[in-house]
């Protein structure tokens, strides 16, 4: 622990770490020192001059954001001099700031507005003409209104330091200085919108949300993004059951201030016009709507008949549905349909990983571990594309702790910029590349290994053996694609005990029933059994749904409660934000089918099912209080040997804008991809 010193702030004696920043020490002790440019975690700028404080025996006021605390320091943050200085700075700021708060998106949650309320300068003495420039659109989702900008440079730092993209800079000088894109007139970036969230005023506004609502009209629902496996919290602004925006301004999730383009904007698939809103039955004229009662009756009869005659079922679950839904579906299949043919689209070899790590404690890394590890090794994955939050964590680790980053990939990845060592290997030679780093890795304090689907089966066992041979603590992140891929595996949507894998189900000519929940296995494959009865639960008329006898309209992750498990095994709670008429959650649909079949599988309420999961699924006895307060509970289901599974493990290796099955239905994502000159527009995405 660093040396402790004593100082006095506003008469309060405070113990602090020597060299800590005064503004942080004050804030930690409940003393507010206002600031615009200071933002925890990013480089210091000392530009806004709001955090001026009085330090005894120092002639001039000092900025709290760059002053390290020292022993015996006596600080005043509320003296008349300080108050006058704050007021003076705010008065200066307001001279060229348009007072269009009544129409500004930020009104109500604007830091400048708050500070003017608190520290005065509400009445203007400025009678001159203001500097005005026209608003600019930098991308489909980012607008910039220079007059509102107070030049705190937060956006510039969030983009450069946080995202590693460096799309923003500063142009012009003096009072005409303004934030500019580094590429002419548009952004060449991830379109993550971090600049919008971090903007203390309304200078940067969101293309999808601007001028739509006031913050206080909305309900703010913190839930988990459904588009990739990283499990970022997104706070959805909901008005009249319609989602208007997503953001992470409260920084309450594991993702802190990070949110990518999908978490922030791609909630609009919810109200896509092609959403299914009624059960459908296949007729000679294509699919036609049918009542829930009839559809459930047809499906229940077919399932019961097939069960009775000992027919062959195939059940394919989803990477997107909740743990409760996956658990209940697996239970329904095993106990209700008496089948072992259960699978989901597996995107990472978790079975081998868990088996290879059996007997080890604490060998699965959390997202926090990625931020704290002394070294991180990325194998065969372009994290910035497929796991943007993990990529962010690694960058933050490098920025704050100078962690050693190693990359072993087939092509260039963003982590190369921070890398201690970058290795390009041929596809399939990743492990050999990793082994060549042995000497360097042995010198590290501890290591987190992040690997993609290039490492599976025997190769994965060898990787774990290699990790063991290093003689340092090693943790692993086995990458999977989707928002609950990990949960689908953990909840048992796998062909254990001799069941058929998904590909075997499709190729079995004698399959009687194919029951697909939230997945699209027939997108790129054909069903061999021509007479199979196909039931699909989905949001959209997918390729599989088009071949289905009965299709049930399912609710999306933003329309239900439950829990999901992210790529690092962190369980978080989904919260119902919106409602689409005519849909039901997958849990309810499975429950209703079971009920119709006369089965008693227990109550299908998310909380009740979770209770059962906590009691029966190894590693899932997570503290409810953590979940209820919006936290993430880590599960580490390493419980002895795991049998090898048949079937294919393959990641979709999507891009930032196309990951997950729902992104094609997001108009904003499509717009962003079509915008000219994008860094990751379709085609250019795969680096």
């Amino acid at each position: 622990m660093a040396e402790q010193i004593k100082l006095t702030i506003d008469g309060k004696e405070i113990q602090a770490e020597k060299g800590a920043l005064l503004i942080e020490v004050a804030r930690q002790n409940g003393i507010e020192v206002p600031a615009f440019c200071y933002h925890e975690g990013y480089s210091l700028k000392a530009a806004c001059r709001m955090c001026l404080v009085e330090i005894e025996k120092t002639p001039k006021l000092q900025v709290g954001c760059t002053t390290p605390v020292a022993d015996g320091m006596v600080v005043h943050t509320d003296s008349d001099v300080v108050k006058r200085a704050r007021k003076g700075t705010l008065e200066f700021l307001l001279t060229n700031h348009p007072l269009d708060c009544p129409v500004c998106d930020k009104g109500g949650e604007c830091e400048l507005q708050d500070m003017v309320f608190r520290y005065g300068a509400g009445e203007s003495r400025f009678v001159e003409r203001k500097v005005h420039t026209e608003e600019k659109q930098w991308s489909p989702v980012v607008f910039f209104d220079a007059p509102r900008c107070i030049l705190c440079y937060r956006c510039v730092r969030a983009c450069d330091e946080g995202m590693g993209v460096n799309a923003l800079g500063i142009g012009n000088r003096g009072v005409l200085a303004e934030i500019v894109p580094n590429h002419h007139d548009h952004l060449e970036c991830d379109e993550c919108g971090a600049c919008i969230d971090i903007c203390p005023v309304g200078a940067l506004t969101s293309g999808s949300y601007r001028y739509k609502a006031r913050p206080w009209e909305m309900e703010h629902v913190g839930t988990i993004c459904t588009h990739c496996a990283d499990g970022c919290k997104t706070t959805l602004g909901v008005r009249n059951e319609k989602i208007l925006r997503g953001n992470n301004r409260d920084r309450s999730g594991i993702n802190n201030e990070f949110l990518c383009v999908k978490g922030r904007y791609a909630f609009d698939f919810v109200e896509h016009e092609e959403r299914l809103q009624s059960p459908m039955i296949k007729t000679a004229n294509g699919h036609e709507p049918i009542s829930w009662a009839k559809a459930l009756d047809i499906v229940a009869r077919k399932f019961s008949e097939t069960t009775l005659k000992g027919g062959k079922f195939g059940v394919i679950g989803s990477n997107h549905t909740t743990n409760e839904e996956n658990y209940f579906l697996a239970k329904f299949a095993r106990q209700g349909l008496n089948t072992k043919n259960i699978d989901h689209r597996r995107t990472g070899d978790l079975a081998t990983l868990f088996d290879a790590l059996s007997g080890k404690n604490d060998a699965l890394a959390t997202t926090t571990d990625l931020y704290n590890a002394k070294a991180v090794l990325v194998i065969g994955a372009d994290l910035a594309q497929q796991h943007p939050f993990l990529s962010f964590q690694i960058r933050a680790n490098y920025r704050h702790h100078q962690a050693h980053i190693y990359t072993v990939t087939t092509g260039p990845v963003r982590e190369d910029n921070q890398a201690f060592s970058s290795l390009r290997v041929q596809e399939g030679c990743e492990l050999a590349g990793v082994q060549s780093l042995a000497e360097k890795l042995k010198a590290e304090g501890d290591l987190v290994i992040v690997f993609g689907d290039a490492i599976q089966g025997d190769t994965l066992r060898k990787l774990v053996a290699f990790g063991d041979s290093l003689g340092i603590p090693v943790k692993y992140v086995g990458l999977v694609d989707d928002s609950n891929s990990r949960g689908a595996f953990d909840m048992g949507l796998v062909p254990r005990d001799g069941g058929l894998s998904a590909d075997q189900m499709l190729s079995a000519t004698d399959l009687d029933v194919l029951y697909v929940v939230g997945e699209d296995p027939l997108k790129n494959a054909a069903l061999a059994s021509k007479n199979a009865f196909v039931v699909v639960q989905d949001l959209f008329m997918t390729e599989t749904a088009k071949q289905a006898d009965i299709v049930f309209p399912a609710a999306s992750a933003y329309e239900k409660n439950g829990t999901v498990t992210n790529v690092c095994g962190e369980v978080q709670k989904l919260k119902n934000a919106a409602k689409v008429m005519g849909t039901k959650t997958d849990l309810e649909i499975v429950g209703l089918i079971a009920k119709e079949m006369g089965l008693n599988l227990g109550i299908w309420l998310p909380d009740k099912v979770l209770e059962e999961i906590r009691n029966t699924v190894h590693g899932y006895n997570v503290p409810l209080a953590v979940l209820a307060t919006g936290g993430a509970a880590h599960t580490a289901p390493l419980n002895g040997r795991v049998a090898a599974l048949p079937g294919i493990v393959k990641s979709a290796n999507d891009t930032l804008f196309t990951s997950g099955g729902l992104t094609p239905y997001s108009k904003i994502l499509n717009e962003v991809m079509e915008a000219p000159g994008q860094l990751y527009s379709s085609g250019k995405g795969q680096q």
């Binding site: 000392a46 001026l52 001279t95 060229n96 001159e128 003409r129 000088r173 003096g174 009072v175």
Partner: protein, 430 residues
């Protein structure tokens, strides 16, 4: 044909660093060598770095760029045994309104500057140097480069300086015309190819300057004073001035005097003598109204306040600064409102925009002063100009905000009556 000089020298001057200015071909290495050139460097080469720094300390030389920091002390801050190489940077971004001395040192005696840089390189064990010349000094860039070329060709720069085996490379870097880049850390950013905005201190350039390397950064005149100090001894140089203000300096005398020009005077030279004797008295026999003693950023002195010796301490006592030697003399006809506006227009234009008080403060003040000047002033504007200036003073990121605030505060306090008279001329209320 006799050499056309910037101004005729005065017999009242104490010529130390400007002694070669009058010589025909003073910018050439031959003339420089024939007139004591590189004697100091060869002497310094035989001295220890500590001894060189000690000699500079003895000379009492203080930074001629405006801040007046003791030069020897600054040199001693550069860690000679640092694992990173040391860098010498010359601040030739002479941008302070009223100053025009560095240009003469480069134009008339570039080799003196080179020798000063070389001696500094011995003191801090540096082998590379950059001369950062302001963009507007285009013709000087050519002159400086010619001198550097000549020095390279004749072996006074490069791998074997003056046959001593000392290695030193010198390059001219051109600024793009920003006043802010005269601030040492902004200069370094600009030198590195970045946007010229000041850096946070600490770390100071002596520890982490250009490209993060320990950097010795001084003004042209400071480096140019070094050869004389080493050659004749620090004590001889110091004897020109007053006890805590050693040596001579170039005074850039401008404004309403009969003989404006750049004159070399010892520190502590009486201000009134400079106006009346060096400057040949007030133009047209007018009365003195005010003096800007060291460049536009210095608080103005009223005529009665001008009866003081010109050294760092006396000026500070009088509530102003010696600054970079840009003395502007204003006669009784000077419109102080117009003067205040002109000064603020400069700083508003030159504010880099980095921090709020300077960016917004200078703009607001300029607008008020312009309105006032245009005859639309209001009574409440007068105290507001002072108050807004004080809201900038000491609260900006770098000294540019102070530079704008200080003269304005002094003008509004000392010449308030002129502002009030403007109100009588006010035609239209706002």
């Amino acid at each position: 044909m006799a050499k056309v000089l910037f101004n005729q020298p005065s017999p009242l001057e104490t010529k130390v660093i400007s002694q070669r200015f009058v010589l025909e071909g003073s910018e050439t290495l031959d003339v420089y060598l024939a007139n004591d050139g590189f004697k100091a460097f060869l002497k310094a080469k035989e001295m220890t770095p500590e001894a060189i720094i000690e000699e500079v300390k003895t000379s009492g030389l203080r930074g001629r760029g405006g801040a007046g920091f003791p030069t020897g002390m600054k040199w001693s801050f550069v860690p000679r045994n640092h694992p990173k190489p040391r860098v010498i940077v010359v601040n030739a971004d002479e941008s302070e309104p009223g100053c025009c001395k560095d240009r003469l040192l480069i134009e008339y005696d570039p080799h003196q500057l080179i020798e000063g840089i070389l001696i500094a390189s011995l003191a801090v064990d540096a082998h590379v140097g950059y001369i950062y010349v302001r963009g507007e000094y285009r013709y000087l860039i050519t002159k400086m480069e010619q001198a550097i070329d000549e020095a390279y060709k004749r072996g006074y720069l490069g791998d074997n300086v003056a046959g001593t085996g000392w290695k030193f490379d010198l390059t001219v870097h051109t600024g793009a015309g920003a006043y802010e880049c005269g601030e040492e850390t902004a200069l370094l950013d600009s030198l590195e190819g970045k946007r010229g905005v000041p850096r946070m201190k600490p770390p100071f350039p002596a520890v982490a300057g250009a490209w993060g390397m320990p950097t010795l950064l001084n003004n042209v005149e400071t480096y140019s004073s070094v050869p004389a100090i080493i050659r004749d001894g620090g004590a001889t140089y110091a004897a020109h001035g007053t006890p805590k203000n050693g040596g001579t300096r170039l005074l850039c005398l401008s404004g309403h005097v009969n003989k404006p020009g750049v004159y070399e005077i010892p520190l502590g030279y009486p201000m009134m003598k400079a106006i009346n004797d060096l400057g040949g008295g007030m133009r047209g026999g007018k009365k003195l109204k005010a003096v800007v003693p060291g460049g536009s950023s210095c608080p103005v002195l009223t005529a009665p306040e001008c009866d003081i010796p010109m050294d760092y301490d006396s000026l500070a006592k009088a509530g102003s600064m010696l600054g970079a030697g840009g003395m502007v003399v204003l006669d009784e006809d000077t419109d102080m409102v117009g003067f205040a506006l002109r000064v603020m227009r400069f700083y508003q234009h030159e504010s880099c925009g980095w921090c709020i008080p300077c960016r917004e403060g200078t703009t607001w003040l300029r607008k008020i002063l312009q309105r006032f000047y245009d005859g639309h002033g209001r009574k409440e504007d007068i105290p507001m100009i002072g108050e807004l200036s004080k809201n900038m003073l000491g609260r900006t990121f770098c000294a540019l905000g102070d530079a704008a605030a200080m003269p304005t505060i002094s003008i509004i306090e000392k010449f308030r009556d002129e502002f009030e008279r403007y109100l009588e001329r006010t035609t239209v209320a706002v």
